[in-house]
Symmetry: C2
Subunit: 591 residues, 2 copies
């Protein structure tokens, strides 16, 4: 069975050496001294390692089942969920007035990585609840907040998001679910939603569905869409549970992975729903919570790679197979450990350099969200809006790739379910698809975010990169970081220029390169955070850090990323510059 140990040391490095959170001006950050965050992280680690991780494979094997309309989660999920509840983990970064602890999102994300790595399927019940809470916080009335949030923050009740229907996923304008206004101000919701993660289960008293539906008078397409709260059990004003609402589970999907999470077909048969936010402005309500949700999915992508890497590393250290060509390393054993082989090293270094870079990138992104939310910083908000599709798309594509590579380290055993490596890959696979498939992320990046506010935010990003390079110019110790970062950043600018010059005349010239652009951008982001981490590591070493080995390892890992991964940017640029012609040359019937 695979194991999991939370990377508490590296989380500390990112929070304190790199982001230096306790010195930040962001409200609430001053409290985040290393002792305090370590205590939180270590407490989360204890729960994740001891309780959640051991259930991960059981969840995969048993899956969820629907019996007489009731959804049952795998053995052990309910008591484990109870421990997450009791620990108050869901409320960590939620407002105190509803029972939360009001800590910054950056801490919620650090803890989130740990929970997701240990058991992605189980953590999703919490993650969806968190998302629904954010939506109600942003758009609900005071009465709705008071009625629903306390029990949701405590996770006595969980939440869901209902967007997709059988015939419409990305294109929500095709939506058919209807909302009919009632005399008492509520709505009757009728329709079918699919792919509803954590749609129903046996771990909470109630499930609060957030449902997109079309109310009369809104016009065609997405304009007519509104957002509704539809509880499984109706809720009295004091939060008491009432009658069962007209919503039921039609089916649980059989999926490639995340079997422990009940992905439900939800049938709404005249269910009572309450409008949240403005009528016919449901899409806007959705969009405001999307940054956070998408960053959460990007986090899932790399968090699966974290645990997959840990196991691949352990296997490579233990499994004896073949000999080091440069000289026997384990003369007393029948063979050397796998880790002596350069190609096995390559796979491990790919994984290690990716997950550490992805962690830094994601937590930096989380700090931008804090800056935007807690300080009303519009520039931070614009920058994280720009980076969100990169975090979601790049980290999930690469996260899955790294899980596949970790599986590869196991050879034949990687293909056998018992060893658990297949599950990491299968679970990670969904993150490339949901919350906007990665092609949609690329479209969002190239089609909307790049040009948003006159291109101000992408310019700010380039300034950040240039500023870092300039500030550290002449520091030879950073040469192995600054040069590749500069080259990669130039490739990204050239791609942006190509889009500006050609995309105006033919949008397809930009869109045909959108996924390559997203990956190019992702590499530059990881190159930037790696360069920043290298500087932080040198600073720690200069200051006489006691654990010099940790920082030297960090530097070597970063050098690997720069030398081995950043050369991808030139390839992406070349593809982008080939334009739309090769991509669009065929007629549909010629495929």
């Amino acid at each position: 069975m695979p194991s999991y140990t939370a990377p508490t040391k590296d989380l500390n490095f990112v929070l304190h050496d790199l982001l230096q959170i306790s010195q930040s001006e962001i409200p609430g950050y001053a409290d985040l001294e290393a002792d305090f965050t370590s205590a939180i992280v270590e407490e989360a680690a204890r729960l994740a390692e001891g309780v959640l991780a051991p259930l991960n494979q059981i969840g995969d094997q048993q899956g969820c089942r629907l019996e007489n309309g009731v959804v049952y989660t795998p053995e052990g999920f309910k008591p484990a969920f109870e421990q997450i509840k009791q620990g108050g983990w869901n409320g960590l970064d939620l407002p105190e007035e509803f029972g939360g602890q009001n800590l910054p999102y950056v801490i919620g994300s650090a803890v989130g990585e740990i929970f997701v790595s240990s058991n992605m399927a189980l953590n999703m019940y919490q993650g969806l609840t968190h998302g629904a809470i954010s939506a109600i916080l942003a758009h609900g009335s005071d009465e709705q907040k008071a009625r629903f949030l306390p029990k949701m923050v405590s996770m006595d009740w969980t939440g869901t998001m209902n967007l997709t229907e059988p015939h419409c996923g990305t294109d929500l304008g095709l939506m058919r679910t209807k909302a009919e206004p009632q005399e008492d101000g509520s709505y009757r919701i009728t329709g079918q939603k699919i792919f509803i993660s954590a749609g129903d289960h046996d771990m909470a008293e109630n499930v609060i569905h957030l449902v997109l539906a079309k109310a009369p008078g809104g016009g065609e397409g997405t304009r007519g869409i509104s957002l509704f709260i539809v509880p499984k059990f109706l809720v009295g004003e004091e939060g008491s549970l009432g009658a069962r609402n007209g919503v039921s589970v039609g089916n649980i999907e059989k999926k490639m992975g995340i079997h422990g999470n009940a992905t439900c077909v939800m049938n709404y048969d005249g269910a009572t729903g309450y409008l949240i936010g403005d009528l016919h402005k449901g899409m806007r309500a959705m969009f405001t919570m999307m940054n956070e949700a998408r960053i959460g999915v990007g986090l899932q992508g790399y968090a699966q790679a974290v645990v997959a890497y840990e196991n691949a590393r352990a296997y490579a250290l233990e499994r004896l197979q073949g000999r080091d060509v440069t000289g026997v390393q384990n003369p007393d054993g029948p063979a050397d450990p796998l880790i002596v082989h350069p190609d096995v090293r390559r796979m491990l270094m790919d994984q290690k350099s990716f997950v550490e870079g992805a962690r830094a990138f994601t937590l930096w992104g989380a700090s931008l969200i804090d800056r935007a939310h807690r300080m009303g910083d519009k520039d931070a908000d614009g920058l994280i809006s720009l980076l969100t599709p990169v975090i979601k798309g790049f980290l999930t594509d690469k996260g899955f790739e790294m899980c596949v590579q970790a599986q590869q380290v196991y050879g034949g055993h990687g293909y056998i379910e018992e060893w658990g490596m297949s599950q990491f890959a299968r679970d990670a696979r969904i993150a490339m698809i949901y919350e906007g498939a990665n092609g949609v992320q690329a479209l969002d990046l190239v089609g909307r975010k790049l040009a948003a506010d006159g291109g101000k935010h992408v310019m700010a990003f380039f300034d950040l990169v240039k500023g870092f390079i300039k500030d550290n110019d002449g520091d030879e110790r950073l040469d192995a970081f600054l040069k590749p970062l500069k080259a990669a950043s130039k490739d990204l600018q050239a791609a942006g220029m190509f889009f500006m010059e050609r995309g105006m005349k033919n949008p397809n010239d930009a869109l045909a390169g959108s996924t390559d652009f997203l990956h190019l951008f992702g590499h530059v982001c990881l190159g930037l955070v790696w360069a920043q981490m290298a500087r932080a590591a040198h600073a720690a070493l200069d200051a006489g850090a006691s654990d010099a080995d940790f920082y030297h390892t960090k530097l070597a890992t970063g050098r690997y990323y720069m030398a081995r991964q950043l050369p991808a940017t030139a390839m992406h640029l070349a593809r982008i510059q080939s334009g739309a012609e090769p991509v669009m040359a065929l007629q549909a019937e010629q495929f």
Copy 2:
């Protein structure tokens, strides 16, 4: 449920326009006129489309089960297997004296693609049998051939290959299975083998296991290994079935995919075995059949991508979602089909250009095997030995990647097992692992094949590329092919030079770049066959081919590969040239 239609037209194109097989001097090729091969291919297509493909998902869902020592295959497998038998498909390219049809391997491979695309798990029972027959043909005594081959060629009996043990996969020198010589000349085989594909089942009267084991006196490591025939039921001289042998199935592995194939733990408890080939020369016997087996696995990699692509294409044509940004394409419908979106096109073109290139590359490789076997052509033998790890490693890595991409086209539905796209990815995943994990292929390529015979074969490959470019110099219609091919080939040569210069001093400088080299080589190979196909397409058009649209489509597909995929070679070269340092910098305990 996914569907499958055999690409008969494209197979014809490769066999006749590209390889021009019926004009070849290779013995047996003159008979391979287009009418004749078409009849074979279409007959195989009928069986694959009508019988094998509809069972593919059933096989995945039901898997195999072990009850009271008996292995049961999924519903419908037995009658389908019977039809493969009755059609004589297994004997297509096997000697007439044992009941085969003695057709060239290139035809066997074309048919193989069709069977593998339609149902990989079911086809493996045949594939393993074919491999075991090849081993007996190459190394068995006349008596052994007479005793075992007729029933194996007819597939009344199937075959297996037994190499792996729990503690040893790649490193066979660690093998523990023992062979004790008996007075009658036979051996008693004792030990446990794992990961035995098609290890046992209910579709044949007997299973003929080829088992590697250590006989006394051979010395340490792989030197002591010999190869044995161990039948499930002992066989009389006239091929009659005797007593049950001391071999049993310990377990059926639960795997990520190919559930329809019984991957068995095989226990040998003093089973009677017959030495095949020379004592203590088992490894050599294994190696002589590895080219064919590895090409067969490379074929599996791209064959899964073929069927995955077909379904992704169909979905992209049918599924209505969003609108073409350059103008509505389906004004009467609620949305345009997915295929209007450039990023969906990109995914489809990636898949299409890969599978068509891979098909050409593989069938060219199969023709080299025919040339080597049927003409004793040592140069062809050397070239295919060089290309084998590329076919196996590159086509399975990319084949899996393309299956994942095909799944991505389906959005959320791609993750739901019912739609079948997950299965293609899960089934394709094994091809990267078995028959030598792809890292081992890269090691074989860089560590052995490159320098084999003084580097003669890699020079011959470069001459082939250069010759093609020179022969077609000045043909402007081929510019979009020749220029990228030239650049990619230069990258490959530079990588080879780097290995020669640096690898002598430090082998790790070569080994750290081995997988990148394999991929670089793969791109050059596909670039070469695409350039050749482009020439063939122009030739057909010049000759006034009736189906001009097919050839124009071929040219556009090839241009896509050259423009969008060949830029990867520079990235691989840059990684290779970064050498061993970034890869090997960490101590084992620093991971």
